[in-house]
C-alpha cells in the first residue's frame, strides 16, 4: 500500500480509531493489532512475500532466544549469531543479487571467449527486503553484543520488525530504540500527534509535489539525454537531486509522523543534507539510519579508524561500496559508492570530517559567502554522484556527465516536457528550501511552531500546503526506495 494512495487515506483513520479507542486498554492487543495491520499493509502490495518477512523475523527472534540459552558459551552464541546473519543475508542476496552476479559472471565468461549455458531466474524483488532484513539483523547482533536483552515477547518482536510506517523504506530502526517501546503501554500524547501530523503533511508535500513533478522532467531528460544540451543535462541532475530527496525524505517524514500518531518514536533519517558544507557533513545528514547502521555493524567491527591509515582507507572504501551495493544490483550503485568514498577519503585523512558540528549559519539567519560557496560546491559534487545513481548503466552515466562539461553549459537549458511541470517543480523546490532553511535547526523541515507563533497563521500555512499538494501534486508515482 502506498502512502500516497486512496487506500491508505481510508486505512489510516480506521487503524487509528481501533488502536486508540478499542484496543487502548491492552498492550498485547495493541501490539498484535500493529502486527496484523502491518502485514495487511505489506500484503496489499504482494501477499506472497509475507511468509518471507515472517521467516526473517522468526529467525532473528529465535537467534535471540538461543543466544540467551547459550549464555555461558560465547562460541555457541557466536555460531548462532553468525548463522542468523548468514541466512538472512543469503535470503537478501538471493532475491536482490542473484541475477546481477549471474549476469556479471556470464558477461565476464563471454569476454574471455566462453559462452556459458547460464540460467538467470526471473526473481521478483520483495519490496523493502533490505530494510526489514537489516532491522531484524540489528537485533540479533545487538543481543550478541549484549546491548539489548533478548525478548521472549514474540508479538512485540514481530511488531518491531514489521511496524508498518517504516517497514518498506525505513528509517532502519535499531532494536535498542524501537523494541523497548513495544514493551510499554502507549498513551496518547497530544503534542506528539500534532507534530506527527505536521511532519506527515510535510512528507506528502515533498513526495507529491516536489518528487512527483521533478520525476516527470527527470525521466524525459535521462531517457533522451543525447539530444539535450549541457545546461539542460545539468538541470536534469539537479532536479533528480531534489526528486530523490523529496521522495525519500518525504517517505521518512511520513513514516516518522505516522509513528508519532501511534505513540512510537523512530529515529530521524535526514537532517537537511543539501545544506551541508562538505561531503562528510552530507553523509552525516543523508539516510542517517543506513549510514549509522553501516558504521556500527560494519565499519567499527572492521576496526574503524583506529588501526592506522591503510585500514581506515580500506574500511571507508568497504562501507561506501557496500552501501552502494545495498541500494541495488547494478554497477551504477557500486560506482556511486566508490565516487562518494573518493570524495570522503581526503577529508577523513585530513581529519576534517567533524569540522562542521553545528548547522550552517548557526545563530544567524543568513549564511556567509564562504558557506554559500561550500554548500553549492558540495551540492554540485552530490549531483554528479546522483547521475551515476539515476543512470541505467555506467556507460550512460559517464556519457551523460561528459556531455555536461562543455561550453554549452552556458547556453539556455533545453528542457523537454511540460513547461508547466517545470514551473511547478522549481516553485515547490523554492518553497521547500525556504521552510527547510528556516527550520534547519529543528527536527524536520516543517517544524514551524517555534518560528510562527500565531496559531491562526500556522493553520493558514497548513491549509496553503494542503492546497499546494492538491493543486500541484504530480502524477502518482511509487517511492524510489521501495525498489531497494
Amino acid at each position: 500500500m502506498l502512502f500516497n494512495s486512496i487506500e491508505f487515506l481510508i486505512f489510516i483513520p480506521i487503524v487509528f480509531t481501533v488502536y486508540w479507542f478499542i484496543l487502548n486498554k491492552s498492550l498485547t492487543l495493541q501490539n498484535l493489532f500493529i502486527v496484523i495491520i502491518s502485514y495487511v499493509f505489506y500484503g496489499w502490495w504482494d501477499f506472497r512475500f509475507l511468509g518471507l518477512m515472517a521467516l526473517t523475523t522468526l529467525l532473528s527472534y529465535l537467534s535471540g532466544l538461543l543466544i540467551k540459552k547459550f549464555s555461558s558459551n560465547r562460541a555457541r552464541q557466536k555460531l548462532v549469531s553468525t548463522l542468523n546473519v548468514l541466512i538472512n543475508l543469503g535470503i537478501l542476496g538471493y532475491y536482490k543479487y542473484f541475477n546481477f552476479f549471474a549476469e556479471s559472471l556470464e558477461e565476464l565468461l563471454i569476454s574471455i571467449g566462453y559462452k556459458p549455458d547460464w540460467i538467470t531466474l526471473d526473481i521478483i524483488l520483495p519490496v523493502g527486503i533490505s530494510f526489514y532484513t537489516f532491522q531484524a539483523l540489528s537485533y540479533s547482533i545487538d543481543v550478541f553484543n549484549k546491548k539489548i536483552e533478548p525478548t521472549r515477547d514474540i508479538v512485540s518482536f514481530f511488531a518491531y520488525v514489521s511496524f508498518f510506517p517504516q517497514l518498506v523504506a525505513g528509517p532502519i530502526e535499531r532494536a535498542t530504540n524501537l523494541l523497548p517501546q513495544f514493551y510499554k503501554k502507549r498513551n496518547f500524547n497530544y503534542t506528539d500527534a500534532r507534530d506527527g501530523l505536521r511532519q506527515i503533511l510535510w512528507g506528502f508535500f515533498k513526495k507529491m509535489v516536489i518528487a512527483d513533478n521533478c520525476s516527470q522532467i527527470v525521466n524525459e531528460i535521462f531517457s533522451n539525454y543525447q539530444n539535450i544540451n549541457s545546461s539542460g543535462l545539468f538541470i536534469g541532475g539537479v532536479l533528480f537531486a531534489f526528486q530523490i530527496y523529496g521522495d525519500f525524505s518525504g517517505y521518512s517524514d511520513i513514516a516518522i509522523g505516522l509513528a508519532k500518531l501511534f505513540g512510537i518514536h523512530i529515529m530521524n533519517n535526514f537532517n537537511f543534507p543539501y545544506f551541508s558544507r562538505n561531503i562528510a557533513e552530507f553523509w552525516k545528514r543523508w539516510h542517517i539510519s543506513l549510514t549509522t547502521w553501516f558504521r556500527d555493524y560494519l565499519y567499527i567491527p572492521l576496526g574503524g579508524s583506529r588501526l592506522g591509515k591503510y585500514i581506515t582507507i580500506r574500511n571507508t572504501m568497504i562501507i561506501f561500496i557496500v552501501s552502494g551495493i545495498w541500494h541495488g544490483a547494478n554497477w551504477t550503485f557500486v560506482i556511486w559508492g566508490l565516487y562518494n568514498a573518493l570524495l570522503f577519503l581526503p577529508l577523513l585523512l585530513a581529519n576534517k570530517t567533524k569540522i562542521h558540528k553545528e548547522s550552517i549559519a548557526y545563530n544567524r539567519f543568513f549564511p556567509s559567502l564562504i558557506e554559500i560557496v561550500q554548500v553549492l560546491f558540495t551540492f554540485f559534487l552530490v549531483v554528479i554522484g546522483w547521475i551515476f545513481f539515476r543512470s541505467s548503466s555506467v556507460d550512460v552515466a559517464f556519457d551523460y556527465i561528459s556531455r555536461i562539461f562543455s561550453f554549452e553549459i552556458f547556453e539556455i537549458p533545453h528542457i523537454p516536457g511540460s513547461k508547466k511541470i517545470l514551473f511547478y517543480s522549481l516553485f515547490s523546490i523554492f518553497f521547500m528550501l525556504v521552510f527547510e532553511w528556516s527550520c534547519r535547526t529543528k527536527q524536520f523541515g516543517f517544524d514551524i511552531k517555534a518560528i510562527i507563533r500565531n496559531r491562526k497563521v500556522r493553520w493558514c500555512v497548513y491549509i496553503l500546503v494542503i492546497w499546494l499538494i492538491l493543486e500541484l501534486g504530480g502524477t502518482q508515482q511509487s517511492f524510489i526506495y521501495f525498489q531497494f
Binding site: 496518547f188 497530544y190 500534532r194 491549509i463 494542503i466 492546497w467 492538491l470 500541484l472
Partner: protein, 301 residues
C-alpha cells in the same frame, strides 16, 4: 485525545470550506462565460486532434471548431449540449471519427486515464451537470479532477478577468490548432515496421460507443444534421482501413452519415504526422470544405 480530535475536525472543516470557496469562485466566474457563436455560423465541429488540427474555422467560414486533442466522446457530448442550447443557428454537427478512437484501447489512454480526466474535467467543469456523472460515479480520479480546477484554469481566469470578455474563446474548451509540425519523416521512421491492422472488426470501447450514440440521438432529436467525419491521413492504403469505421458504425442501430476524407489526395508537406494535418494541410482541407461543402461518402442504416 478529545482536544486533538476536536482540533482535527475543526481544521478539516476549515480546509473543506476554503476549498469549497476556492473552487466555488471558479464556478462563479466561469458561470458568466457566454458560449454564443456568431449567427452566420451554422456548423459545429467537435472531436479530437484529427478535427482540431484539420479544420481551420476561419477558412471554413460557416463553422466553429471546438475540437481538442485527447477528447473522448463523453466530453464532446457535454460541449455539444451547451453549444446547442445557446445557439439556435447550429444546424449541422461534424464529429471526428477514426479507428483510433473507437477501440477498447482508448479507454486506458483517454477515457479513464487520470491525467486526461484531470485535463478534460478542468476544461469543461462548468458544463458538467449532475446527470453527467453517471459513467464516472465510482471513478475517484473524476472527483479528484475537480480539486485541480483552480490550478488548471488560473491562466484562463486571469485572461477572463483582464480582458473582461467572458467568452468561450478565452477558455480551454477547444479550438482549431494551427499545427506547425512537420514530423512525417520521423513518424514514418518510428513506425516503419508497424503493419496496418488487417482486421476490419474492432473490439469497441463501450463508453465511446455509448456517447457516440448519445451525440447522434441528441442531434436527431433536435433535427440537427450530424455527420461523422474522417479527416485526411497520409498514405491511407497503408495506414487507414475505412472498413473498420464503417463496420463499427453498422453495429450502431441508427442512421449515420459519414464523410470519409481519409483518401483526399494531399502533398506530403501537408501532414504533421501520418494521421494529423499541419497548418498547410488544414488550409487546403478547410478551403476544400468551404468550396465543395461536406460530401457524404456513406449513409449507414
Amino acid at each position: 485525545m478529545n482536544n486533538f480530535l476536536k482540533e482535527l475536525f475543526l481544521f478539516f472543516m476549515l480546509l473543506a470550506i476554503s476549498l469549497f470557496m476556492l473552487i466555488g469562485f471558479f464556478y462563479y466566474i466561469f458561470g458568466e462565460i457566454s458560449y454564443k457563436i456568431p449567427n452566420d455560423k451554422n456548423i459545429l465541429i467537435i472531436g479530437d486532434s484529427h478535427t482540431e488540427c484539420s479544420i481551420d474555422d476561419s477558412i471554413f467560414s460557416r463553422s466553429v471548431n471546438i475540437s481538442q486533442s485527447g477528447t473522448p466522446y463523453y466530453y464532446s457530448y457535454i460541449k455539444l449540449k451547451k453549444f446547442m442550447s445557446e445557439n439556435k443557428s447550429i444546424d449541422t454537427v461534424l464529429l471526428s471519427i477514426h479507428p483510433g478512437v473507437i477501440g477498447k484501447s482508448i479507454d486506458s489512454v483517454w477515457v479513464y486515464n487520470s491525467n486526461n480526466i484531470t485535463w478534460k474535467v478542468s476544461s469543461v467543469f462548468n458544463l458538467i451537470h449532475k446527470t453527467d456523472f453517471e459513467p464516472f460515479l465510482f471513478n475517484i480520479d473524476f472527483y479528484l479532477a475537480f480539486l485541480k480546477i483552480p490550478i488548471n484554469n488560473i491562466q484562463t481566469l486571469s485572461q477572463l478577468l483582464l480582458s473582461k470578455q467572458f467568452n468561450y474563446k478565452s477558455t480551454n474548451i477547444g479550438a482549431y490548432n494551427k499545427n506547425l509540425n512537420n514530423n512525417l519523416k520521423e513518424n514514418l521512421k518510428k513506425i516503419n515496421n508497424r503493419k496496418m491492422d488487417d482486421g476490419e472488426i474492432i473490439n469497441p470501447s463501450l463508453i465511446q460507443r455509448e456517447y457516440i450514440e448519445r451525440i447522434i440521438r441528441f442531434c436527431n432529436d433536435r433535427n440537427t444534421t450530424i455527420i461523422l467525419i474522417s479527416t485526411p491521413v497520409y498514405n491511407p492504403n497503408r495506414f487507414y482501413n475505412p472498413n473498420i469505421v464503417i463496420n463499427y458504425l453498422k453495429d450502431i442501430n441508427l442512421k449515420i452519415k459519414l464523410s470519409d476524407y481519409s483518401r483526399l489526395p494531399l502533398d506530403d508537406s501537408c501532414f504533421a504526422d501520418i494521421s494529423h494535418l499541419n497548418y498547410k494541410g488544414a488550409q487546403m482541407f478547410s478551403s476544400y470544405l468551404n468550396t465543395n461543402g461536406i460530401i457524404i461518402t456513406n449513409e449507414i442504416q
